[in-house]
Symmetry: C2
Subunit: 234 residues, 2 copies
């Protein structure tokens, strides 16, 4: 392998979206004595993620970034889980919870090792402002920030993976996608990128039923970011 750059899926692979949102929003709600089913809301919110991007990918919606998709699905789901009567400012603060997600404990140390040798970028369906806020707050050592919004195509559209290779002026075989999701890796592999799988067995909570193990012939399979860095020789 002659990998020069590693692109990272972010939600689930680098950060613990579910644990972060349930913890932060739960504490916020408790301080206000709100009777909200936060785990239910967070899971339903994430459940709306792929369908909402699907509407953009199929052209049923014009380009809409993830903050806006999240905002719309939150507005629709909130009452069903007991979240009502909040100010627009509070709803916006909740929506920006996705900007404040915490990395898995192994993520930053592993990324710091990898960065000495490889160009590192997210390749996320999150938008630029979200990823920049997250990186600044959490110390994610990206060299640049690539994501769906830059290419106006959500993964797994080929334009995102190939657009990243093009901007980096690298052949797909010189670029690796690192993700906790087999479908993301499959899309990248079909376009000639290298692939690295990190198992995140609690991303979806205690009843996770997907992505518990590698589901393809990935170039690297790792148990966490430190293991991944080691297997990449970093």
């Amino acid at each position: 392998m002659d990998v020069r750059a590693i692109l990272f899926d972010v939600f689930g692979t680098v950060v613990d979206w579910r644990g972060s949102l349930i913890e932060e929003l739960g504490a916020w709600g408790a301080a206000r004595s709100l009777a909200v089913d936060w785990p239910g809301l967070v899971d339903a919110w994430r459940g709306a993620y792929a369908p909402s991007m699907g509407r953009v990918r199929r052209g049923e919606l014009p380009w809409t970034n993830l903050d806006a998709l999240h905002r719309a699905s939150l507005a629709e789901l909130a009452p069903r889980f007991g979240l009502t009567g909040q100010t627009p400012e509070d709803m916006e603060w909740i929506n920006r919870g996705w900007h404040r997600l915490r990395p898995w404990p192994d993520s930053v140390p592993g990324l710091l090792r990898l960065r000495r040798q490889f160009i590192l970028s997210p390749l996320s369906n999150g938008n630029v402002a979200l990823l920049v806020d997250m990186a600044r707050a959490q110390g994610l050592p990206w060299d640049l920030v690539l994501c769906a919004e830059v290419f106006r195509h959500y993964k797994p559209d080929p334009e995102t993976y190939l657009g990243a290779c093009d901007l980096l002026a690298l052949d797909p075989a010189q670029v690796m996608l690192c993700a906790a999701h087999n479908d993301d890796l499959l899309a990248a592999q079909r376009l000639g990128l290298r692939t690295g799988f990190i198992a995140r067995r609690s991303e979806y909570g205690p009843h996770q039923a997907r992505d518990l193990a590698p589901g393809g012939e990935w170039d690297v399979v790792a148990s966490d970011m430190g293991d991944f860095a080691g297997k990449m020789g970093a």
Copy 2:
């Protein structure tokens, strides 16, 4: 002012393109006993920069990134200054001299101060790979890398300045362009961005006749990056 992000012109403002290229290519040529007029070649190469981007901006050329424009103008100019008979690999190494430019001595310390308070990005006509290579080699602490190539429009096309504000999810008034070039700042100011001028009186060498002083009502005027950081309260 409520500035959240600062965008930086790079060639001339952050890095000393002329000094870097003349020094590095001169040493390279001397080691090979080449009789090349390096200062003449470097100045002519930079002289071809605006006209070559102009052809793209007017639609006479399809989108072409700066590495490719530099490559074409180098091929055309080289024989006139005594640079002939080089291998394609050597010509490519010379062209990538733009990836290896050195910052002015005050740039990195000033940027490190600014980064504690502001989102920092280049907004350069250089391409992504060039800017990423430069940042990694020189320790330029960008939060993200925005440039003409991302928007497929060269400055001063409005799409570059407004595209950056849009990706950052900020109003133009929350974004400052910092540049050593009055024309760049004028284009940004007309679109509502804040402006910061840094005088770089030797960017074009001993006979520099342009941009010796601020040529507009800029929000901040500074003598170097440290002075600029101080005036921004960083």
